[in-house]
């Protein structure tokens, strides 16, 4: 039964993709529906699979030996990923109604764009599922690569200048990330002689250069997870991607980077080498820096989705810091892991709901505005930890850290929540400024409401092991809630102050604008070197040719002298005979 579900989970999305191609050839564009039922349900078998219980499969014929499984990490992960994809697909159907109408009216560009999106959406999803259930390196890498490269089509969807820039940033960093991951995996797997992710984990813990391997893998997956310095694609790609794509990008796909860390880093292992502990501390600092830095940069953004992208970086920074404790203070990890998963799941759905919410304010249904904007803000409030699932997930992390007395980290994470609150306020404020009436669609707001509710009640449906969800005691309530009002107040006062002073906002993608001229200079330098080398080579070739010509000339002259000898053969022979005879006579006379 589980195997059937597994097959359905992987093949049904492929059927959906195949159906898109089939329809493109069969149905005339005027009647074509790009988002039929098979497309909308593409992710449902995977969702069912997550609730089917734990399971394990080995397929010897698959690549380097396939090992797939659903365990304490991959089951909840699959559940929230598939749920988000399902909701986003339904949302997408509403979101693209106008574009589909255009395509049916004969707009070739719209037709092309929708076809591309409809085709690559289920493919990206298959990659995402595969990387979650994979326990062997090859399947994991396959899923990761498929998801990464197929998602390019989702980012570039609109085809505008901005979208192409965002997609290019995404792709360049993705290629760099793939390279780092490949290097790290090869190194670790080669040292440990293994094909399994578990072997990599153990190998890194045991190897001499374990810290270097872990560093490569951390950075490689960090491209996806938005580690500070490698995060630049997020604020460039998110605003330009269509809202449902942004939702899965920020909710499900950047979580794949986090999952990569959980799968390959020796988190919570006993007796880690000093190098790995040092790496843990570096990760901790990078995570905290991202959590605060992203909030500081994000509040200046105009585009609500750019604000949300910075918020994702900030949230992933917090998650990075939590993962880092698995290396820096391994004892806390077993307690912390369920909290991390819950945190990730809640963030996925909440961020998904927030991204979908940006289209709700663009196409407001005829609801009372205060209610509408309260609902739009709700998942954000939950993210700060002020209510519902957000509060429980914050506590899930905090109580684990309390048990081990990591008060500094708790304090920093709490302060980072102020940044979250400020970012959410900025986002809602920007949405309020840019709100537009009309064009709402039931699929669109229906899916958004489902995501919103699912985010608020995350602990109820997430298949975590028994007893790993702890509701916060009432005495701790204030300690979790206070960052939200403080953050909002901070935002209001700063906004008021800025109105008076004014100033220039930093561009979205911050460091990208530093990297790209540097890279351009590098390319120019390489080109100059290339031209120089070409000149040198040309000179070498011409010298060699001249030498060849010269020596051939000498040879030809020699040959002509040979012809002369042949011509005067008899005379020369006679002269030779005379010389020999004289020599003999001379010899005889001695």
């Amino acid at each position: 039964m589980m195997t059937l579900l597994l097959l359905a989970a992987l093949l049904w999305p492929l059927c959906a993709a195949g159906n898109v191609v089939w329809q493109a050839y069969q149905t005339p564009s005027a009647r074509r529906n790009y988002f039929p039922l098979v497309w909308l349900t593409a992710s449902w078998p995977a969702l069912l699979l997550a609730y089917g219980g734990e399971a394990h499969w080995s397929i010897a014929a698959w690549m380097l030996g396939g090992e797939w499984g659903l365990n304490a990490i991959s089951r909840p992960w699959l559940a929230f990923t598939a749920l988000l994809w399902s909701v986003a697909a339904v949302h997408g159907r509403g979101y693209f109604v106008a574009e589909q109408a255009k395509a049916q009216a004969g707009d070739q560009n719209a037709e092309r764009r929708l076809l591309r999106l409809a085709l690559f959406w289920p493919l990206t999803f298959v990659g995402n599922v595969l990387l979650i259930i994979a326990q062997d390196i090859a399947s994991f890498y396959l899923g990761f690569a498929l998801m990464t490269f197929a998602a390019y089509a989702l980012v570039v969807h609109s085809g505008s200048q901005q979208a192409r820039l965002g997609a290019r940033a995404y792709l360049i960093l993705a290629v760099i990330g793939e390279g780092l991951i490949l290097g790290g995996l090869l190194w670790a797997a080669g040292t440990a002689e293994t094909f399994m992710l578990e072997g990599v984990r153990e190998g890194i813990a045991a190897a001499d250069h374990g810290a270097m391997m872990a560093l490569l893998l951390w950075l490689g997956f960090g491209v996806k997870a938005g580690v500070i310095g490698l995060h630049v694609w997020l604020p460039l790609a998110h605003p330009v991607a269509p809202a449902p794509a942004s939702a899965v990008l920020s909710g499900a796909m950047i979580k794949a980077g986090l999952l990569g860390w959980l799968y390959v880093l020796p988190l919570g292992a006993e007796e880690l080498s000093p190098g790995l502990t040092l790496l843990g501390n570096v990760m901790l600092i990078a995570g905290i820096a991202a959590a605060f830095g992203a909030a500081l940069l994000g509040v200046w953004q105009r585009h609500p989705k750019a604000v949300l992208a910075y918020s994702s970086i900030s949230q992933m920074g917090m998650l990075t810091a939590m993962v880092a404790t698995g290396l820096a203070a391994p004892a806390v990890w077993p307690l912390l892991l369920p909290g991390v998963i819950l945190f990730a799941a809640h963030h996925a759905l909440a961020k998904g709901a927030l991204f979908m919410g940006t289209t709700i304010s663009d196409h407001m249904p005829r609801w009372p505005k205060p209610l509408l904007f309260a609902l739009i803000a709700l998942p954000g409030v939950s993210l700060t930890g002020a209510l519902a699932a957000g509060m429980i997930s914050k506590w899930g992390v905090k109580h684990a850290l309390y048990e081990m007395d990591h008060t500094y980290l708790i304090m920093l994470l709490t302060w980072a929540a102020i940044g979250t609150a400020a970012l959410v306020s900025v986002c809602v404020w920007r949405q309020w400024q840019q709100r537009q009436q009309g064009g709402s669609n039931a699929f669109q707001w229906g899916a958004w409401l489902v995501a919103l509710i699912a985010a608020l009640i995350t602990p109820l449906w997430l298949p975590l092991p028994e007893g790993s969800i702890v509701p916060p005691p009432l005495t701790e309530w204030l300690g979790i809630v206070w960052p939200f009002p403080v953050g909002v107040l901070l935002f209001v006062s700063v906004a008021y102050w800025l109105r008076k002073v004014g100033g220039k906002a930093p561009p979205a993608g911050d460091l990208w604008w530093l990297y790209s001229p540097l890279a351009a200079h590098g390319v120019k330098l390489a080109q100059a070197i290339g031209t120089r080398c070409k000149a040198v080579k040309g000179a070498c070739v011409s010298v060699a040719l001249a030498v060849e010509q010269h020596s051939m000339g000498q040879l030809t002259r020699l040959l002509s002298s040979e012809a002369w000898m042949r011509h005067h053969g008899s005379g020369l022979m006679m002269a030779f005979a005379v010389v020999v005879a004289l020599l003999l006579i001379w010899e005889g006379m001695r």
Binding site: L142, F149, A153, E178, L182, G183, T191
Partner: protein
């Protein structure tokens, strides 16, 4: 039980086909096509028989003495059969492709005659049982490919052919010199001998190294290792099926395969490590890999870019050979097959674009995915495989080479591999992007350089299906690498069974 007829018959099919084709008149197109296909299919059957025999543990040998101490030997051993299998499978695909490609062209008799001879020599190289036999077929390959390279007969083609002959004949002379020195030192030395050259190590260390340099130096010309690669990009003027064959199996692979024979069968891997030549070879291969990729980025035309990519990719084989250990060896063996499959796909596709749409330059490829979807999918598969992304076969190779490098304690090789992957992405992804994400003539912007409607499908069926088939095999070889008789399985069998201590 020794089935001596089997290697001989396998070799004879293509030679016989060549002779019959030369005897037929130019016009008898149908008969020639029939003979070509019949020979190709029967050769696949014969090779399959050999595979069966080898997996049962037999080594069918055919030999006779030429002069005292020098034998002509054909032997079907596991490594040879692997290469023979590759060449016979790709020969069938390329023959089908060439029939479609040369529809209505002049000099088809000459073309297919030398084509068959070329494959016969490749098969001879695969089955050669000692260095002397190897050398005969190696030179025969040089001579039989020349008419194919200059097939178009233009001034550019003739110039390229001249360069090709200069390089390969010089390489052949160097190889001959090495062979003569080796024979004078050791007498006839079969590839199958167990001892290797280890007994000569103490007294003739310098001489052994010199002979190694001569042999590998001669072979490196055909394997297109930097700086002996100059002929390969120029030979791109040849018709697409020839380029495909040249790049995927015949010429460059003959060089790489020869290096394998020298190291595994003649010297023995332990002796090579002892002499220290493997490290030098690994460095040379790495330089070639990086240099080829860098030059490929600078190319603006499709076929030259693919040619420099070949230069880079073939050295993966050499790199794997020079890594001492099971994974490196398996990686080298399996890349011999995988690279052939993927590269032949790419060249088929390049030929399709050129024939159907007149595309030669990369910037003309915008939006070609809409006009020729199957070809473009096949091209994308090949390109992703070259980058080394799963599930295409290239990933398997890269993985084994990387692990092999780690186990041989050559960490810098991993850096080379990762850098090469990134560079491959840098010059293949833009093409894939153009195919699928840019708008071009298929969307109503501009025109194709020279569009012909060759068939009912996107192009002539004879051109289309070989490309689709090899692309599917490339994916299959990666996705189902764990199946018995997959390239990986066979390479593992060869490596574990024969070359590893």
């Amino acid at each position: 039980m020794n089935a001596a007829w089997l290697p001989l018959a396998t070799l004879a099919t293509s030679i016989l086909a060549a002779v019959v084709i030369f005897l037929l008149p130019e016009e008898s197109r149908r008969l020639r096509t029939g003979i070509n296909l019949a020979a190709a299919v029967s050769k696949i059957i014969l090779v399959a028989l050999m595979v069966g025999r080898v997996s049962q543990g037999y080594q069918d040998t055919f030999s006779f003495q030429i002069v005292g101490g020098i034998d002509f030997v054909l032997r079907a051993d596991a490594l040879g059969v692997m290469f023979a299998g590759l060449s016979s499978l790709l020969w069938l695909c390329t023959t089908i492709y060439a029939i479609g490609y040369l529809e209505g062209a002049a000099n088809r008799k000459r073309f297919f005659g030398f084509f068959s001879l070329c494959v016969a020599s490749t098969l001879g190289i695969a089955l050669a049982g000692n260095l002397f036999t190897f050398l005969i077929f190696y030179e025969m390959l040089t001579l039989s490919t020349y008419p194919l390279v200059v097939h178009a007969g233009t001034a550019k083609a003739l110039a390229a052919g001249r360069v090709y002959l200069r390089y390969t004949l010089t390489g052949g002379v160097v190889l001959l010199l090495g062979t003569v020195m080796l024979y004078s030192l050791t007498g006839d030395h079969s590839f199958a001998s167990e001892r290797g050259l280890a007994p000569y190590l103490n007294d003739h260390r310098g001489l052994l190294t010199l002979i190694f340099v001569l042999l590998v130096g001669g072979l490196a010309v055909k394997a297109a290792m930097v700086p002996l690669h100059g002929w390969l990009p120029r030979a791109m003027v040849a018709p697409a099926p020839v380029s495909a064959l040249l790049h995927a199996v015949a010429v460059v692979k003959a060089g790489a395969f020869g290096i394998m024979r020298i190291i595994y069968d003649l010297y023995g891997i332990e002796l090579s490590v002892e002499l220290g030549v493997t490290t030098a070879l690994a460095i040379a291969a790495s330089i070639t890999i990086i240099y080829g990729s860098l030059r490929a980025i600078a190319q603006h035309e499709l076929k030259p870019r693919l040619a420099f990519s070949t230069i880079s990719q073939v050295s993966y084989v050499v790199l794997g050979v020079s890594l001492f250990g099971p994974f490196g060896t398996i990686g080298a063996l399996v890349h011999l097959l995988h690279q052939g499959l993927m590269k032949v796909t790419l060249f088929f596709c390049a030929g399709n674009y050129a024939e159907e749409l007149g595309i030669h330059r990369i910037d003309e490829m915008d939006g070609a995915g809409k006009r020729m979807p199957l070809t473009s999918i096949a091209f994308t598969v090949g390109a992703l495989g070259m980058i080394g992304l799963p599930p295409v076969a290239g990933f398997i190779t890269k993985w084994y080479l990387g692990i092999g490098a780690i186990q041989a304690d050559m960490y810098w090789v991993v850096v080379v591999l990762v850098a090469s992957s990134t560079l491959n992405a840098l010059y293949f992804l833009p093409i894939v992007h153009r195919l699928w994400f840019r708008q071009g003539p298929a969307h109503g912007f501009g025109e194709w350089p020279k569009e012909q409607r060759l068939g009912r499908l996107e192009t002539h069926g004879w051109l289309l299906w070989p490309a689709v088939f090899t692309a599917m095999v490339s994916i299959g070889a990666g996705l189902l690498a764990g199946l018995p008789f997959s390239p990986l399985d066979w390479a593992t069998r060869v490596a574990i069974g024969e070359y590893l201590p």
